[in-house]
């Protein structure tokens, strides 16, 4: 699979230049964030952060990057102009994934060891709410209108729907085994939840709180057990992307028919994925091979892999 690299490097030269954007990747075992220039597709900075960085997200003004550093039980705040950690937020124990609420004032953080979601007020740096959920909360998503937060719990195998103003769990939906990521569709009508061990995505209706459909992935030549769905990214053009972990593939899914359109070969053990702002590219963080695969979605092929730190995990794009 690594043989792909030299071939795609040549293709990279042909790819259309992308908008001036920067891609940020958390390196779980290096305690750093890699910054990749979207134009040159090369690493332009490596930013030291706390220990075991995984979940990352931009502030609403896109000038800061929040980084969950699980082993330090906090969320580091990176100033993207100076590329330095300028602040830290108390997150509760072992934060892994979190979402920034659209109001720009709160983070909802999954505390994996405590079966809790913590609500963190950014300005006061205070935890202003705690929500008891299932065992090992992991994936976090917020609805586009900001009313609902969804948290998945890995051992309980549920998607918990939380009212974002009262902090009450309003519903629990049993999903496939070991759910990892959750993502609302852009219209806010569905939540997609990936199951790592069943290798599926459960599509949950937000109104009905019932599973509308289950997306299955079968890749010729890849054992079923290695197809492990993790990161999810929704485009606005009716397509969605699902990272398939040790299957070393990203699936492109038609968001309405739920048909698999194609599989992209990426690096080893892909965790999370992110679309470019123009949605012409997809960036995949490959934990096993220590690189980021750049997929050109117009040409429908991977065009480059970029070496970053050890165990890249989370990825976001910023202007």
């Amino acid at each position: 699979m690594q043989a792909v690299t030299p071939l795609v490097f040549a293709l990279a030269l042909l790819a259309a230049p992308a908008a001036a954007e920067t891609v940020y990747v958390s390196n779980e075992q290096d305690n750093t964030i890699s910054a990749i220039d979207g134009e040159t597709l090369s690493v332009t900075a490596t930013i030291p952060v706390g220990r075991r960085p995984r979940g990352i997200a931009l502030s609403p003004d896109k000038r800061r990057l929040f980084v969950a550093v699980g082993d330090d039980n906090r969320i580091d705040v990176v100033d993207l102009a100076s590329r330095k950690v300028v602040d830290a937020l108390p997150s509760g124990e072992d934060p892994e994934l979190f979402v920034v609420h659209p109001d720009g004032k709160r983070l909802f953080v999954a505390n994996e060891n405590d079966s809790l979601v913590s609500v963190l007020e950014i300005e006061s740096k205070k935890v202003i709410g705690e929500i008891q959920v299932g065992v090992e909360p992991e994936g976090m998503a917020v609805s586009p209108d900001g009313q609902l937060v969804v948290c998945t719990s890995e051992t309980t195998s549920m998607a918990h729907f939380v009212d974002a103003s009262t902090y009450e769990v309003v519903d629990n939906v049993l999903v496939d085994t070991r759910p990892r990521a959750a993502a609302f569709t852009p219209d806010g009508k569905q939540v997609w939840v990936s199951s790592e061990l069943r290798g599926t995505v459960s599509v949950i209706g937000v109104q009905s709180r019932a599973i509308d459909a289950i997306v299955e992935f079968a890749i010729p030549g890849v054992p079923r057990e290695l197809v492990q769905a993790v990161g999810i990214a929704h485009g606005h053009d009716g397509r969605a992307y699902v990272a398939l972990g040790p299957a070393n593939r990203v699936a492109e899914v038609d968001n309405k028919s739920l048909k698999i359109l194609r599989y992209y070969l990426v690096g080893q053990r892909v965790w999370h994925i992110a679309l470019s702002a123009d949605e012409k590219r997809l960036y995949a963080a490959n934990g096993g091979s220590g690189d980021v695969t750049v997929i050109d979605l117009e040409r429908r092929e991977p065009v480059k892999s970029i070496a970053v730190g050890r165990s890249p995990w989370g990825v976001v794009t910023a202007p």
Binding site: N113, G134, L174, R178, P223, E225
Partner: protein, 408 residues
């Protein structure tokens, strides 16, 4: 045995820990421990049957005494089940029975059945388990202790195994050694009945994966000199003499009772690694595992039990979790439905080893990765890359469908 604490104190401590861990809503799940109480319709009662064991002398001063080994794992499984159960109206209780030496397993099982138990997790040796399962065909037994392949070959419909068989352990080790190209093995076999069976599994694995046992020796020394003053002097003389044999790539030791295996590494005549039951250990679980979310399982266990999780704790946890998972997925507290789901094709359990775990329909063995654990860190996990299988790579470990005398 360190059983100084009275049981009621112990249970109170356990409840406090659990409550702080998961919230007071779960208290109801722990109250009926060891006492009969009218069960709510959606309460699933799981028996835990164990036998008294002679206290093991630790080989190393660093060894932790595994108080309530197995039972602690079952309790964590109950807490994990309850966390899902409370969202869908199911609760789980564990009812413990300890057999003293000479107690009749059939009678103990009858007592559990009288308390409404249909699922029994066993921490029993193979023979008492055979007797118990044979006498209670309507109960489903989940074996968390006995690694005997012969027990699996009895093809019992009412017996599942969450603890790996010796064949699985040996195959997991063999795949790693062959992947390393350490193909010439020096097999050292202890005096226990289990050691002889472990050696048999190692010989089978060597044949399956293309390794060669170049020399085999039985360990015949009296053990226990290490702790004495100058104990190391004796060992420093004896072990080089014992291991001064034809050249080999790796010494594979079969010492299930932990009688001498720890003495080998660093003392062998040739500078060769030690693997098997010691040093590079093939096991269903080890506290060194921190991948695949294992850190979270380990930390929940440590909060509950105040020590590290052993392979027997893990197998008991996996057994309770399996019943819970089947109850949740089948949305039922009906033991027949749960049992059918457990053995069915849809069953899948998350066991913190990177791949979904399920039961083989032919002999009821849980398919699962085998960890290759070093003394301080995880070294690898089998199946190794390249050992292919047309159904599940996990079925390259242990007795496969065609090799088993059991026909589903």
């Amino acid at each position: 045995m360190r059983q100084a604490r009275s049981r009621s104190t112990h249970e109170a401590v356990f409840r406090r820990r659990l409550a702080s861990l998961l919230g007071s809503a779960l208290l109801i799940a722990t109250v009926p421990l060891g006492m009969a109480e009218a069960a709510a319709p959606d309460t699933i009662r799981i028996g835990y049957l164990h036998q008294e064991r002679a206290p093991a002398s630790p080989a190393s001063p660093l060894d932790e005494l595994a108080t309530e080994e197995g039972l602690a794992g079952a309790r964590l499984g109950i807490a994990d089940n309850a966390a899902t159960g409370r969202f869908i109206g199911q609760s789980f209780v564990v009812i413990e029975r300890r057999m003293r030496r000479g107690d009749d397993p059939v009678a103990a099982v009858a007592e559990l059945a009288a308390e409404g138990v249909r699922f029994v997790i066993t921490d029993l040796d193979a023979e008492p388990l055979r007797l118990a399962a044979g006498a209670a065909p309507r109960l489903l037994f989940l074996n968390a202790r006995a690694p005997d392949d012969a027990l699996r070959a009895q093809c019992r419909n009412n017996l599942l195994h969450t603890v790996p068989s010796r064949a699985m352990l040996a195959d997991g080790l063999a795949q790693y050694l062959v992947w390393k190209r350490w193909r010439r093995w020096f097999l050292v076999v202890g005096q226990g009945a289990g050691d002889v069976l472990y050696a048999e599994a190692v010989r089978r694995a060597a044949k399956r994966f293309g390794a060669e046992i170049v020399i085999e020796k039985a360990w015949s020394f009296q053990y226990g000199p290490a702790r004495a003053d100058t104990g190391h002097v004796t060992l420093q003389t004896e072990i080089p003499a014992f291991t001064n044999v034809a050249d080999h790539d790796v010494l594979v030791v079969a010492d299930e009772a932990n009688a001498f295996g720890d003495y080998l590494d660093g003392r062998t005549a040739r500078p060769r690694p030690v693997a098997g039951t010691h040093h590079l250990v093939a096991t269903g679980w080890s506290a060194v595992n921190e991948q695949w979310g294992a850190t979270q399982l380990a930390s929940r266990f440590a909060k509950l039990a105040g020590r590290r999780m052993t392979a027997v704790d893990y197998a008991a946890w996996a057994a309770v979790r399996s019943v819970g998972e089947a109850a949740t997925r089948s949305r039922s507290a009906d033991p027949d439905k749960i049992a059918a789901y457990l053995r069915g094709p849809a069953f899948l359990m998350s066991g913190f080893k990177g791949r979904g775990q399920s039961f083989r329909e032919w002999d009821g063995q849980m398919r699962q990765p085998i960890l290759i654990a070093g003394p301080r860190l995880l070294v690898s996990a089998s199946p190794q890359p390249g050992f292919l299988h047309r159904v599940s790579e996990l079925d390259t470990l242990g007795v496969d469908r065609e090799e088993s005398p059991c026909k589903p």
